[in-house]
């Protein structure tokens, strides 16, 4: 009985952690891409002469 409840609580905690992980990660992925990366891609494209 206790183990079942423990398992449920463990699953709930894991879910909570994964949800928060996603939120932190999403917060990071919505940051604006710095121009330096876009410039770099342009530069690489130019070097390839395509």
């Amino acid at each position: 009985m206790t183990t079942k409840r423990d398992e449920r609580r463990k699953a709930a905690i894991e879910k909570q952690i994964d949800e928060n992980l996603k939120r932190v990660y999403e917060e990071d992925t919505t940051e604006k891409i710095p121009d330096r990366f876009l410039d770099l891609l342009e530069q690489l494209r130019g070097q390839d002469g395509k």
Binding site: I13, L21, Y25, P34, F37, L41, L44
Partner: protein, 195 residues
Amino acid sequence: MTQSGQKKPAAQCGDPRDELVEHLPALRAFALSLTREGASADDLVQDTIVKAWTHIDKFQPGTNLRAWLFTILRNTFYSAHRKTRREVSDTDGIHAARRATKPEHDGRLAMNDFRAAFEKLPDEQREALILVGASGFSYEEAAEMTGVAVGTVKSRANRGRKRLAELLQLMDGESLDMTDSATLAVMNQNNPLMR
């Protein structure tokens, strides 16, 4: 299983280098989770872009470009990290302190607490959690990307979750029942009908 080969998704027809830009936000977030510090994260992304661009012939069209990019980023990080491990080993919490985000008032974990706790985890646990917990790769994909067995990724992720739960004190539910009966006892004592 239609083997027509005629109607490939656009992603498979074009130059994968044109898609790099779409993966930059995810790459940055992954880099940030590894370095825990913005400037090194961006340097890491920059190196990854250059490597991916110049080795694009090694990418197998039709496979997961994001996984491929993550693998490059991670290998770049670890080869550089091995040299500077000592230097960066005590940056715990610096990244969390840098980004003082607005507190949440909806009962979810405070982001700063969560970030600070996350940054205390060992590298391989953070990585496993970012790959499978946050970015939605399967355990199998994460195992391939990190060059370890699936079971290893699972145990790293689980140990990471457990440690996070401890750090955030999510595990103290043990005393819940006792608290409840204690509360009930107090309530009974104060029950007007008992007087």
